[in-house]
């Protein structure tokens, strides 16, 4: 019972933390660029404001446009319940493994891209087309990174992977593990629409991907989508940190262990947020047709990761 409560608590915690994470990246980036920047809690204010505004829907749009935000939000929250944040393995571990996580996120992307096409504007279609291109090309890397992790841990279930890595800490420094981390890091950048793949703070038609798709959204719909997007970022951060560097994750449900886990999680998320912020200030955005090359690099890294874990097996 505690397990189930913890599972739900974990998801609520992620929901609460997610906007702050996005805000932290923005704030730190502003500081690095010599601007004062909005405080890290600005996204909470944005969400509150958006939830209070009325919604304007294009007259060309169908029910799918109004339904999609709920699908995107629900699938992202569902994924949050499957990802180990502060404790592992939890009872929901048997409901979905890493493959289920990946395909649930793809379900959200699928609806987001359809919603981009629905109002019939050129921007929406452009965003949808680019988003699906990037998502499709990122897919093999994700699958191979899963493969590498699963071979090492003997399971595709996230809880088991965390448990196994904790039990064999030496595995963390083997080349397969490190290469897998690098591959998944690149994919994380592509999937969550960060630089150098997509620029989350631009509305320039030549470069935008994610923002182009959601251009027609407003009010509570936009709030749900923005919230889901920052939640997705948090999920990828949690996956990167807890699958590859699982220290701190509680394996018992004692309050002490959970407290440590909570602190560890916050520290890891903050560290990754700062890394992303530094990267975004140092790197220029790639041209869209150079993105496949970047993802190609990540694919090769993932393939090397799997091959080396085969040879070391």
């Amino acid at each position: 019972m505690t397990g189930y409560l913890l599972e739900i608590g974990q998801a609520l915690l992620a929901l609460l933390l997610a906007p702050g994470l996005t805000g932290l990246i923005r704030w730190f980036k502003a500081r690095l660029q010599g601007r004062r920047g909005a405080p890290p809690w600005q996204p909470y204010r944005d969400l509150r404001k958006l939830f209070g505004k009325e919604v304007i829907v294009s007259k060309n749009a169908s029910w799918l446009f109004r339904f999609a935000p709920y699908v995107i939000f629900s699938t992202t929250v569902a994924v949050t319940m499957l990802v180990p944040m502060i404790a592992a393995p939890l009872p929901f571990d048997a409901i979905g493994d890493l493959l289920a996580v990946v395909y649930l996120l793809l379900l959200g992307t699928f609806f987001l891209a359809l919603a981009g096409l629905d109002p019939g504007t050129a921007f929406g279609g452009m965003g949808a087309s680019r988003e699906m291109t990037v998502a499709a090309i990122a897919e093999p890397t994700i699958a191979l990174a899963i493969f590498g992790l699963a071979v090492g841990a003997g399971s595709t279930n996230l809880g088991r992977i965390v448990e196994q890595t904790l039990a064999h800490p030496g595995a963390v420094i083997n080349p397969g593990h490190l290469l897998g981390f690098a591959a998944l890091f690149i994919v994380m950048i592509a999937e969550t629409g960060r630089m150098p793949v997509d620029n989350p703070s631009t509305h320039l038609e030549l470069t935008m991907i994610h923002e182009a798709m959601i251009l027609e959204y407003s009010g509570r719909y936009l709030a749900l989508i923005e919230w889901a997007a920052s939640l997705k970022l948090l999920i990828f951060f949690a996956l990167l940190s807890n699958l590859f560097l699982p220290w701190g994750v509680a394996t018992t449900l004692s309050p002490g262990a959970l407290g440590v886990a909570l602190i560890a999680l916050t520290a890891k998320l903050a560290a990754l947020a700062i890394t992303v912020a530094v990267l975004e200030t140092r790197i220029a955005k790639l041209r869209l047709f150079r993105v496949p090359e970047l993802l190609g690099v990540s694919f090769v890294l993932a393939l090397l990761s799997v091959t080396s874990s085969f040879l070391l097996k």
Partner: protein
């Protein structure tokens, strides 16, 4: 009970065929064909389910029923599984076809269409329960010819005739390979039973077994549409009437899979590693190239036909991985691969037929297959749109629908690849994983395009603007298949144990228990991965209901206003400003330019006064058809050459032909003596 169902099935199909032939046109003729097909399919479905559920087999000595001596039928688990597929699709197709073929009234022959639909279903049903080579081959040829006839329904279109010629030529090349294969396997006796072949298989030489395998791969591969034997498929499936396309893509190409499983896994009992490697490689290449070519199509039905090539590839990845594992004695993993492949077979049948029926409804309403002339249909055809959306999500392997369940199992079997002792073989598995993942990602992109451009946004043509929802019976056929997609996805804990028993029945797969389920959760061998589509589905649905409730409780602003799409300040929006299917696929065309080698033609007419005023732009782009150009064109050239040589024999003089007859007779007599 089972014998009774069998008799009902055969007689209903036969009655349907004769009824359609006798009555011909009109609602009565279409009704006779539809009722015959529906009753027969219902009986086939019941028969298949009974056999799978009870584990019983049904053997009939048909010498007592039919005047043709030497026919044998025996229904076992594998046959029953395919009988379920035939029955399920037959029901949907019969209901749909009744309304759909009404548009052909007075233009094309409904007599032949109705009769051939029943003949095709009958021959399919007989084929999966055939127990010797003769019965199998007769049913195979009957199926091929009836399909040919149905493809030719719209016989006055040049495209149709061309497609039908390709189809009949390819299918007969395959048929010749199959005859050779059966003769090799049975030692020259076409009436030898499958049981005899099974016993005989171990005594064959390695060369003989390899030859049988390669012939089977060629023969069944042409039917299944494995790349590079696929060229006829994207031509023939789109030009057939849509309910026939559903049957062709859903069931007929699956007979290639059935044949391959029956011959290679059952009769031969598996083989060396390279057999599995070839099947796995062919599967991975078919899957990836199939979806890449599908992306470039904007003919809705042709796009779906290329996706059939892709999904046959996924099925073969599962079967091929299973064969590789089997050759290393990893029977549990092998069973997982076979189960994944067979599961994807029934799933693909359900969602591909659903998508073809949906495309048929769109074609019925707009009279075009060109996606660039559609749009906005979700408002005019809500049921069709919802059904098509379910099919699109299922084929993109999105949870909790059926495509996800089977692809998950195929992935799980490939992930077991590290158990293979030889690293050079084991490394095939991660590459297959990468190709499969890329395939499913691209499939999702392709179906965003297909659904988005066809059903969403503003109508792009007058026809799309005045589209109408499909009639009741057509909707019924689609809804049946949509329900099947959801049910097959949510209940792998019913399907997988049944498939486990079927796989365990195959010879060469001894002593495998169906150990892949744990209650609601689907668990792969040794608990390597666990997942429950039903609970995932329930969770997402709960959240979908819960999120608006929480928002209501928190007093979120619930007002909604309808306005114009935002367009950077321009006034008014026309459909010409929308993103087109070609534009949607353009980034991927650039990414995979090495494969497509697109040729581009851009003609811009400027205003004579100034080049800043463009009068018209014409853009034409085509991708290189590699296989047609470099594989088939030389073949056709060679056949033409041979035909020119052979023509010299045809002098037209009667005495010369009599001489030929005498020589042929002498040769026959001589060969019979020795």
């Amino acid at each position: 009970m089972m014998a009774l169902l069998f008799i009902v099935m055969v007689s209903a199909y036969a009655a349907g065929a004769f009824g359609a032939l006798l009555i011909g046109r009109g609602a009565a003729g279409r009704g006779a064909a539809a009722i015959g097909a529906a009753v027969g399919s219902g009986a086939a479905l019941a028969l298949g389910c009974t056999a799978v559920a009870s584990g019983q087999t049904l053997a009939l000595t048909t010498t007592r029923i039919l005047p043709t001596a030497g026919c044998m039928v025996r229904l076992d688990g594998l046959g029953a599984f395919f009988l379920i597929i035939i029955g399920l699709l037959g029901l949907a197709v019969a209901s749909y076809g009744f309304s759909y073929s009404a548009t052909y009234e007075g233009r094309y022959s409904l007599r032949m269409l109705g009769a051939m639909l029943n003949v095709a279903l009958l021959s399919l049903s007989i084929q999966v329960i055939a127990d010797n080579a003769l019965t199998f081959l007769i049913a195979w040829e009957a199926m091929s010819l009836s399909a040919y006839w149905m493809v030719l329904t719209e016989h006055d279109e040049p495209d149709t005739v061309r497609a039908a010629v390709w189809y009949i030529a390819m299918t007969h090349a395959g048929f010749a390979a199959l005859i050779g294969m059966f003769l090799l396997m049975s030692g020259g006796d076409p009436t030898a039973s499958f049981a005899g072949m099974r016993a005989n298989a171990a005594t064959l030489s390695a060369t003989g077994r390899n030859a049988i395998f390669l012939l089977a791969l060629f023969g069944f591969g042409t039917k299944a549409g494995i790349i590079p034997l696929h060229v006829w498929l994207p031509m023939a499936h789109p030009v057939a009437p849509s309910h026939v396309s559903a049957l062709l893509s859903g069931v007929v190409i699956k007979m290639g899979v059935y044949g391959l499983v029956r011959v290679v896994l059952d009769l031969l009992g598996g083989g060396p590693t390279w057999w599995g490697g070839i099947v796995l490689g062919a599967g991975a290449v078919s899957a990836l190239l199939g979806v890449l070519y599908a992306l470039m199509e904007h003919d809705l039905k042709k796009l779906l036909a290329y996706h059939s090539v892709e999904n046959i590839g996924i099925i073969l990845i599962g079967l091929g991985a299973g064969m590789v594992f089997q050759s290393y004695g990893l029977t549990t993993l092998a069973a997982l691969g076979f189960i994944g492949g067979l599961y994807h077979t029934i799933n693909h049948a359900a969602f591909k037929a659903l998508l073809f029926l949906g495309a048929g409804s769109v074609l019925h309403a707009t009279r075009t297959r060109n996606m660039e002339e559609m749009g906005g249909l979700i408002k005019r055809m809500p049921v069709t749109a919802l059904c098509f959306l379910i099919g699109a999500a299922a084929i993109s392997a999105l949870p909790p629908l059926n495509g996800f369940a089977s692809e998950w199992i195929v992935f799980q079997s490939l992930l077991g690849g590290y158990n293979i002792p030889k690293p050079e073989v084991a490394v095939m598995m991660p590459i297959a994983v990468g190709m499969l993942a890329l395939t499913s990602g691209l499939a999702a992109a392709c179906f965003v395009k297909a659904f988005g451009v066809t059903f969403l946004a503003m109508p792009r043509s007058h026809e799309a603007e005045n589209a109408h929802e499909a009639p009741f019976l057509m909707r019924a056929g689609m809804v049946l298949l949509a329900v099947a997609c959801v049910a097959l996805g949510l209940a792998p804990f019913v399907v997988v144990p049944a498939l486990g028993r079927i796989v365990a029945e195959l010879s060469g797969m001894p002593g495998i228990q169906a150990q892949f389920t744990l209650g609601l959760s689907l668990s792969s061998a040794n608990g390597f991965g666990r997942m429950s589509p039903m609970l995932i589905g329930a969770g997402v649905l709960l959240l979908l209901a819960f999120v608006p409730l929480v928002m209501l409780a928190l007093r979120v602003n619930w007002k909604r206003r309808t306005g114009e799409s935002w367009g950077c300040g321009r006034i008014g929006q026309t459909p010409r400003m929308e993103y087109t299917a070609t534009a949607f696929a353009e980034p991927l065309r650039r990414v995979f330019a090495e494969l497509y080698r697109p040729t581009r033609e851009l003609t811009i007419d400027f205003h004579p006064e100034s080049k800043y005023f463009v009068q018209s732009i014409e853009y034409r782009s085509e991708i290189t058809p590699w296989f047609e150009k470099y594989v088939y064109a030389p073949c056709i050239w060679f056949v033409r050459l041979l035909a020119a040589v052979m023509r010299r024999m045809q002098s037209g003089s009667l005495p010369l032909y009599l001489v030929y007859v005498v020589f042929a007779l002498l040769l026959l007599l001589l060969s019979a003596r020795c």
